[in-house]
């Protein structure tokens, strides 16, 4: 076991691991702002401003803003030291509020601001800029220099995802360390020296890696901004909702930035057990799928058989769609029993909806069930091969391999299929042709997909950002999400639709009035 030591920071005593530095130790205790991941400091947070230190990067000690007064014991003389690189020791006393500390911070802020452009009104970082924040809380309110400020490159296209403003850079080297230590791609460096130092890439080579946009998050200022979010929205208009990325089974935690009932961006939300402080670029951009044109917004039904010169699926009301499913399944159940029905779950559905689906299938007595998931590339950092946030949740509920189900379908033993999500054809064991002979295919999906081509009834369901639910990641961690945006009125949870279908089929324990309905009635006028 690591040795523990006691340190005192202002009036609070902490017991921490020996061998850590002051900032690391406070972060270990979850007491460091903003690393604790609060958007606002809380009373229990230690307020030690810092730029270059980051909990997931090596110590740089270059910004000098984290200076505090330390004493080896209550009676020892105080000295200024940087909190990020001062090791803790038994009885260490840290003063973050003394006049000496305030003066030291002021000095650092003044130096940092000497060459900083007065860009705030046109800078995308304004509102979440640590230079702005600390200039306000720890800086001086006027400049003593009259010399012209340094001129450097503006709007540098660093690569596919990032735009760089050299004048705004405070040379904390967080982005440099990220590219060397986290992605191992090493695109960035600080060239030249002294007041001519500049951040650059290797001449004519881009900043381009699968995690590149994280540099914009860790850049304390507006020097690195993402092309995706740049100039889209002032950050103070954003509401911050806790969510997860649904791109793969890692389930990276995100801050969902919401405005005008639309998701404006994902930012990684710290969770050391899941994603640390990072997320991949594909996952970060995956929020675009929430409001994409191919979202399903109404129920769809098909009246003629597939393969005839049949009309496209046509929009239908909820009741019509539910009735259509019942009208197809009831005779089949009566004539042939539940053995000819199969249920396929999706890694995109929430635990709650998967449980509802399993209950529905159990009550029907359907036992041909499986899980369809898409697989893709993975890496050593975060990205998992399973593309969907809840494969583990689906397996925990009881949905196993797809192969036996696919075999039965291809063998002609199945006449009706109820399927969640759009990964039905992903592993190649089934295709539209294999399903063409089925009497009934009922699909629940967020987006239009090839599954629709063989479906008789389609229900539009909610995205993870549109519901209060939970998802289980590949490590078995159950992660709650909150509703960030409200979808169209006809878009509902799988569980809600299944409840109605169960009721229409006359299944025991299924009622028409559902929670969502009750909730939306109660919520009327509240929006």
């Amino acid at each position: 076991m690591t040795e523990r030591v006691r340190i005192r920071v202002d009036d609070v005593e902490y017991e921490v691991d020996a061998g850590r530095t002051v900032l690391q130790a406070l972060d270990d205790c979850g007491a460091l702002f903003p690393e604790r991941d609060g958007k606002r400091p809380e009373q229990t947070d230690a307020l030690i401003p810092h730029y270059c230190w980051h909990p997931k990067l090596s110590i740089d000690g270059s910004c000098r803003l984290c200076q505090v007064e330390v004493r080896a014991g209550a009676d020892a003389p105080p000295k200024l030291a940087i909190a990020c690189n001062t090791p803790v020791s038994e009885g260490l006393v840290v003063d973050t509020k003394s006049e000496t500390v305030a003066a030291a911070r002021q000095g650092v802020m003044e130096l940092l601001l000497i060459n900083h452009p007065l860009d705030c009104p046109i800078c995308d970082q304004a509102g979440e800029c640590k230079l702005q924040d600390y200039a306000y809380t720890h800086g001086v309110d006027h400049a003593r220099t009259r010399e012209p400020r340094r001129k450097a490159k503006k709007r540098v296209d660093l690569g596919p995802t990032i735009v760089f403003d050299q004048e705004r850079c405070i040379l904390c080297r967080r982005c440099v360390r990220f590219c060397r230590e986290v992605t191992g791609t090493g695109e960035l460096g600080v060239f030249d020296r002294g007041d001519r130092s500049v951040l650059e890439t290797f001449p004519d080579e881009p900043l381009d890696n699968a995690y590149s946009m994280n540099v914009a998050d860790i850049c304390p200022v507006g020097a690195l901004t993402t092309k995706d979010f740049r100039f889209k929205m002032r950050v103070w208009f954003l509401e911050d909702v806790d969510g997860i990325c649904t791109g793969c089974s890692r389930g990276c935690n995100v801050h969902i930035g919401v405005a005008k009932n639309a998701v404006q961006r994902y930012l990684p939300r710290r969770n050391d057990a899941v994603n640390g402080t990072w997320m991949c670029d594909d996952g970060r951009l995956s929020y675009h799928e929430i409001a994409r044109e191919d979202r399903l917004t109404t129920c769809l039904v098909r009246e003629q058989a597939i393969g005839e010169d049949s009309p496209q699926l046509r929009p239908a009301s909820l009741d019509e769609a539910v009735a259509a499913v019942a009208a197809r399944l009831r005779p089949l159940l009566d004539a042939k029993g539940p053995g000819v029905i199969a249920g396929i779950a999706s890694a995109h559905a929430s635990n709650e909806d998967l449980r509802a689906f399993k209950t529905f299938l159990d009550v029907l007595d359907v036992d041909t069930i499986g899980l369809a998931v898409a697989r893709g590339d993975s890496d050593d950092l975060l990205v998992e091969a399973e593309k969907g946030a809840n494969g583990a949740g689906a397996r925990a509920v009881g949905f196993g391999a797809l192969a036996p189900v696919a075999d039965r379908i291809r063998g002609g033993g199945i006449e009706a299929l109820i399927v969640l999500g759009h990964d039905l054809f992903a592993d190649g064991s089934l295709d539209a042709r294999a399903l063409a002979g089925l009497d009934t295919v009922v699909a629940f999906d967020t987006h239009r997909s090839p599954v629709e081509r063989v479906a008789h009834v389609v229900f539009p369901v909610r995205h993870a950002a549109e519901k209060d639910a939970s998802y289980t990641n590949s490590a078995g961690i159950v992660q709650p999400v909150q509703r960030a945006v409200v979808p169209g009125p006809e878009v509902r949870d799988e569980g809600d639709f299944l409840q109605r279908i169960g009721a229409a089929l006359g299944l025991a324990g299924f009622e028409t009035e559902t929670e969502t309905e009750a909730e939306s009635k109660a919520g009327d006028g509240a929006e």
Binding site: G186, L188, G189, D192, R193, T201, F202, P203
Partner: protein
């Protein structure tokens, strides 16, 4: 391309240090001496030899005045303009050399013979003003003396 001879010298340099990258600065000198500059291509080769990122090599090259990324003429002439030399007329000397060579500071003569630069203290203050031609110091100069030194260069 870093040829075999240079590579052998670089390997000898590496052997002098407990960690490989300790030899990088020396290797930059070796490459610049052998190839006239540390080109971007050479930086990449060095990065591979030293197991560092190419930007780390560029960081070094651009940190130190001694290194340059493109060739700078056959002879590199640097005039110290730090305080003691300045007090002894180094800036007048520099102006004079600019006129004599027909180039400005930081430029190379059209025939590629001489590159003229300015430098901080070279530690020869007692004999100011002075110029450095490659690795050789010429001290206690006046303009005529300095011109004579340059004219004698091939």
């Amino acid at each position: 391309m870093i040829g075999e001879t240079l590579r052998a010298r670089i390997d000898a340099e590496i052997a002098r240090f407990p960690v490989k990258r300790g030899g990088l600065l020396g290797a930059l000198h070796i490459v610049q001496e052998g190839q006239g500059c540390v080109s971007l291509a050479a930086s990449k080769e060095l990065a591979a030899i030293f197991d560092v990122f190419p930007v780390e090599v560029i960081e070094l090259v651009r940190f130190y005045n001694f290194f340059h990324e493109s060739p700078r003429g056959r002879h590199q002439v640097y005039v110290c303009t730090n305080l003691p030399c300045a007090l002894r007329g180094a800036n007048v000397l520099l102006k004079g050399l600019e006129q004599h060579l027909g180039v400005g500071v930081g430029e190379t003569t059209a025939d590629g013979r001489v590159h003229l630069g300015r430098e901080e203290c070279l530690g020869a203050c007692a004999n100011a003003p002075m110029i450095r031609v490659g690795g050789v110091y010429h001290e206690d100069l006046d303009l005529a003396g300095a011109c004579a030194v340059l004219d004698a260069l091939e």
